[in-house]
């Protein structure tokens, strides 16, 4: 099936070459980081995780969001999603590839990464995170590939893909739950120490993942002959709508608990993010932008006339996707570290090299996504003749 990927139009190849260039540039910067250490980043003693882990967290959500097409189709036989389940699964694959790369580039000693397997530590949440992330990646590759191959040959997928598909559902929930557990089990970090973190992560994931999928559907309609189906996209939009509302609701619950209880260790973080703390306010404009984007997006999706508007929908989705990225990427990680457990305020901003490496990881993900989507759409075009 892979041969499909090497036959493409001029546009296709320019896009691939563009991605390769970004990857190459980022790789050169990474070599510098590899040789000289994470000193090239904006991270510090107080803010010891930054852009890499933030994007990792966000993308775990995008990967988990893929399950929002799998559940309706396989559990509820929602036929409209038949054409796009593969898109959800392949999006998950690309997102997970980026997640794993972000973990690697964040390590101080990447060559020792296998120590996590050599000295398994069942008390460490990172250990489980690694298991579920790799498990979910494996499941999605196998399922996506086998189902697509079967479709191409116009036969039923092998019987054993069914149990794997069912298994992938708890895995999807699992990857994001365990990722939340990385943070919410730490005693000294008030911003993360909340039981609603995992539900909140899932809600924002089920908004951001499908929102991105809708945008991808638009792109597919523009660049290929395959039509994912307007009705399927509408249903996706409803999913995004309720998920983003749940996310905002959970956030407000958090705000209430923190401010009404008035416990300083918990309050300081949100105050830093929303209003600034002791004169430090680098993230305040970002946070409000994120909230406004998510809130406006939710309104646009609730009102049927706006949701059904074909021109507006991709913009609404982009707003929600970007808003969730700010909320979960930028705010969630920095917010947890500022102020530090000693109540010192050290602000964080990614450096240029850090951003370059991040872009390269994204480019790698998009490369994987482009190739997989090319396979999927082409096969579907062929079958439909």
């Amino acid at each position: 099936m892979l041969e499909i990927a090497i036959k493409g139009s001029k546009n296709y190849w320019s896009w691939i070459i563009f991605l390769l260039l970004v990857m190459g540039a980022g790789f050169i910067v990474y070599v510098d980081q590899f040789l000289n250490g994470l000193m090239i980043t904006g991270m510090s003693r107080d803010v010891s995780w930054g852009f890499y882990i933030a994007n990792f967290t966000f993308l775990v959500g995008v990967a988990a969001g893929g399950v929002m097409v799998v559940i309706p189709y396989y559990l509820h036989n929602y036929e409209k999603f038949h054409r796009i389940t593969i898109l959800g699964e392949f999006l998950a694959v690309a997102a997970l590839v980026m997640c794993l790369l972000f973990i690697i580039v964040d390590l101080g000693q990447p060559t020792r990464a296998l120590n996590v397997l050599l000295y398994p530590s069942p008390k460490s949440m990172l250990f489980y995170d690694m298991l579920v992330l790799n498990g979910y990646l494996f499941l999605n590759i196998v399922i996506g590939w086998k189902v697509l191959e079967a479709e191409r040959n116009q036969v039923e997928p092998p019987f054993w893909t069914k149990p794997l598909i069912y298994l992938s559902i708890p895995f999807a929930i699992g990857i994001h739950t365990v990722t939340a557990y990385l943070y919410c089990g730490l005693p000294g970090r008030g911003y993360w120490l909340t039981a609603i973190l995992a539900p909140r992560f899932l809600a924002s994931a089920f908004a951001a993942g499908p929102a991105f999928l809708i945008i991808l559907c638009y792109l597919i309609r523009k660049f290929t002959k395959f039509d994912p189906g307007w009705e399927a996209m509408q249903t996706l939009a409803k999913i995004v709508c309720w998920a983003i509302i749940a996310n905002l609701f959970f956030f407000l619950c958090e705000v209430f608990t923190v401010y009404y209880s008035n416990i300083p260790g918990h309050k300081a973080h949100l105050t830093y993010l929303l209003f600034g703390y002791h004169g430090y306010n680098a993230l305040v404009p970002w946070m409000w932008t994120g909230l406004i984007l998510m809130f406006t997006g939710a309104i646009f999706l609730v009102i049927p006339q706006l949701r059904n508007n074909k021109t507006l929908l991709p913009f609404t989705c982009a707003m929600i996707f970007f808003g969730a990225w700010i909320d979960k990427g930028l705010g969630m990680i920095s917010g947890g570290f500022v102020p530090s457990p000693l109540h010192h305020v050290t602000e964080y901003a990614p450096t240029k090299p850090e951003i370059m490496i991040t872009l390269a990881v994204y480019a790698t993900g998009f490369l994987v996504l482009t190739i997989l989507y090319k396979l999927a759409t082409q096969v579907k075009e062929e079958v439909r003749g």
Binding site: D46, M130, L186, P341
Partner: protein, 274 residues
């Protein structure tokens, strides 16, 4: 006198052991995590041992001067880089400028309201405003850093010391997020250009690994007290928290002490007489 000569004997023995490639100081840096404490004990009859090591810091006795001496000796003997140190351009050409936010420290001074943020009080007794509070790793009984580490590079010895295997650490910094006392530092860069004089009894670290106070495990293994205790003029005492007769327990019986952020349940082993 007795004590002195015993110490110098131990030093010689220690050097001999380095020659054999089996110095106790290097032992804890080996990959054999569990057996380490015992192995050290087994090799050296004189080693200071405890069921659970603890520390008492008498804040009344700590002056700026003593605090300065303590941090200095700790950082020098453990090859902790000093970013203020002028790099020798011949030995380390092309050293890039430092980011002081990426500094490394094992023990340092904090003001009261930073060391004990949960005890912040508008009407705090005057004297606390200017007292230097020394903070370091608390060798917590329930150490969140140990729990978080995905490789067991950070582990707890049987004697309560929370210690690291620098060769196993992957630099994920999960332990730094987990430590509620900001006790850990990460080597964002190669520390060696910033070490004025490398101390031969202790390994230097490479970039990309985390480090923190080890309660001078290498000293205890040689039968000597931690460096900070030695220069503290009696302000710092270490001993066995589980031995009711130990110096440290007697101090705890006689004085009112506090620990940092106790409400988290980490059970710090460092006590402050206030």
């Amino acid at each position: 006198m007795m004590k002195k000569s015993r110490r110098s004997f131990l030093k010689v023995a220690g050097i001999a052991a380095i020659g054999l490639g089996a110095s106790p100081a290097m032992n804890f840096a080996s990959s054999d995590s569990d057996g380490t404490a015992l192995a050290v004990k087994g090799k050296n009859e004189q080693a200071l041992t405890a069921h659970r090591w603890g520390m008492v810091i008498d804040t009344n006795k700590i002056t700026e001067e003593i605090a300065g001496k303590i941090t200095e000796v700790c950082h020098k003997t453990h090859n902790v880089p000093d970013f203020k140190h002028d790099v020798d351009p011949e030995k380390f050409p092309k050293t890039r400028p430092v980011n002081h936010k990426q500094e490394i420290k094992w023990i340092w001074e904090e003001e009261f309201h930073y060391a004990f943020p949960e005890k912040e009080d508008e009407y705090l007794a005057e004297k606390f405003h200017d007292l230097p509070f020394l903070v370091t790793c608390n060798h917590c009984k329930n150490a969140p850093c140990v729990q978080a580490c995905p490789t067991q590079a950070t582990f707890k010895r049987e004697d309560g010391i929370v210690i690291m295997d620098f060769h196993r650490c992957i630099g994920c910094r999960f332990c730094m997020a987990a430590c509620p006392y900001g006790s850990r530092s990460f080597n964002f860069r190669d520390p060696r250009p910033f070490i004025a004089e490398t101390h031969p009894d202790f390994p230097t670290r490479s970039k990309g690994v985390v480090e923190k106070c080890n309660l001078c495990a290498e000293q205890l293994a040689k039968g000597e007290l931690p460096h900070c205790v030695q220069v503290s003029e009696g302000a710092i005492v270490v001993g066995d928290l589980e031995d009711p007769e130990s110096d440290i327990r007697i101090l705890l019986k006689e004085h009112y002490t506090i620990r940092r952020n106790q409400s988290l349940g980490t059970e710090p082993s460092v006590y402050y007489i206030v």
